[in-house]
Symmetry: C2
Subunit: 228 residues, 2 copies
DNA sequence: TTCAAAAGATGATAAATATCATATAATAAA
DNA sequence: TTTATTATATGATATTTATCATCTTTTGAA
């Protein structure tokens, strides 16, 4: 079993503020898991009772709407922490997380880390900072969802994906999403997403390379996102 | 100047976890403010650098979209804390807060309370819990915005307003919102909000009493919110 | 009190988006 | 490989929502 003290992934998230002793303790009780593409890390209604530290892979965090449609509220990648909220609340999760590619994650049980949250101000301030950031992002998404057209949201999403997952040498965005996933990010029907993607392709603003997407004309996408 | 140690409002938020000494210290440096209806507590781009404790009144927290339309992301009432995020981040606010009625608020400068956040775990855990709750709410709003129709969102909003602000003896919801405000909560054109409100009134699910709203048939509103 | 401005209301129309149908392409299971 | 299933694509149409125009009512300032 790998040791948290030596784990590089930790450097990218709040766990980096834990002391050596705290890390050793966590190392002893954490579990490593492999999650295959398409499998859930956790499901709606489940009590997570701990946090996931993502060592490799990408997952989508989503929620079913009352209309029976799935809405993706976040994408999580290597280095991210997932499930912080379970540390603080007793409630069951209102979200589900499903792997978009094979994943390596560590799971740290709540009871082993909750004490650190109360006693290590650097750690708790870092978690607090994370949450504040997520809250700001969430507010921005609410505004976009409420005020922007589907076309705008699609353009914005493509730009965000590029930012978040970066591109390989050929300029291709490092994430594989189905058309349905994209539709579930921007909150529209799959057909609408497909249609608008086709439009962008026709205009040569983007290009499909296998399942992946390459942005050919970022300035034009930015214009669309802003409503022109 | 009133004293925080004796303030009842504090009991309703995270400040209740501060010690007597911490409260005395804050009491000495906090400022009380009166904000008239329509005036801002703070504006977009402003550095708040402190938190507001709402002693009386209601305000809307909103953000301009790139499309030039205003989106209300939260309503804040007596007992709430506003601006927690400014404690944690250096960034300017991306939101503005405007009084919907005359308000009494206390402002506590960041530098006076940030230390408590680091040294008083009960306080920091409470703030953390607040943020976790807000984050959950925000996720739910994102899903609603993305997946529900305007009609559903309106019904849901009316139900939420009743929950949040309660009703007086006559069953009238204790908050006065303009049609434009309601439109800016659900993310639609003012005309659309007016039209749908009129429909609900025609069907006798709601009634207007002056500027205020009374829910006559909650079960039917709930059905609409769920998409029936 | 009077009058201008803002808010609310409603119709007509245009634009955006969802839904349904169907076809083709890609993928995975036998 | 063959076949069944799923994903992608696209047209036709219905529905939802925005926009523009106009009117009435309410509100607030002089």
């Amino acid at each position: 079993m790998s040791k948290c003290e030596q784990c590089i992934v930790r450097k990218f998230n709040s766990l980096t503020h834990l002391s050596r002793e705290e890390l050793v303790k966590i190392s002893a009780c954490k579990t490593s898991r492999t999650i295959k593409k398409g499998e859930p890390l956790f499901s709606e209604g489940e009590h997570i009772n701990g946090i996931f530290c993502i060592k490799d892979g990408i997952c989508k965090v989503s929620k079913m709407s009352e209309n029976g449609r799935n809405q993706i509220v976040n994408l999580i990648k290597k280095g991210d922490i997932l499930g912080e909220r379970s540390l603080i609340t007793q409630e069951a999760s209102n979200l589900e997380a499903i792997a978009l590619e094979d994943m390596e994650v560590c799971f740290i049980p709540k009871e082993e880390i909750i004490e650190d949250l109360e006693k290590n101000p650097k750690f708790s301030m870092s978690v607090l900072k994370d949450m504040a950031n997520n809250l700001k992002k969430a507010d921005n998404i609410i505004v976009d969802m409420a005020q922007k057209t589907v076309k705008q949201r699609l353009a914005e999403t493509l730009i965000n994906l590029k930012e978040k997952f970066d591109t390989n040498n050929d300029g291709i965005i490092n994430v594989r999403l189905s058309r349905e996933d994209i539709a579930n990010i921007i909150g529209t029907a799959t057909e609408s997403a497909i249609r608008l993607l086709s439009d962008l392709k026709k205009k040569k603003y983007i290009e499909f390379v296998g399942k992946e997407i390459k942005i050919l004309n970022l300035p034009e996408l930015e214009k669309i996102a802003q409503g022109f």
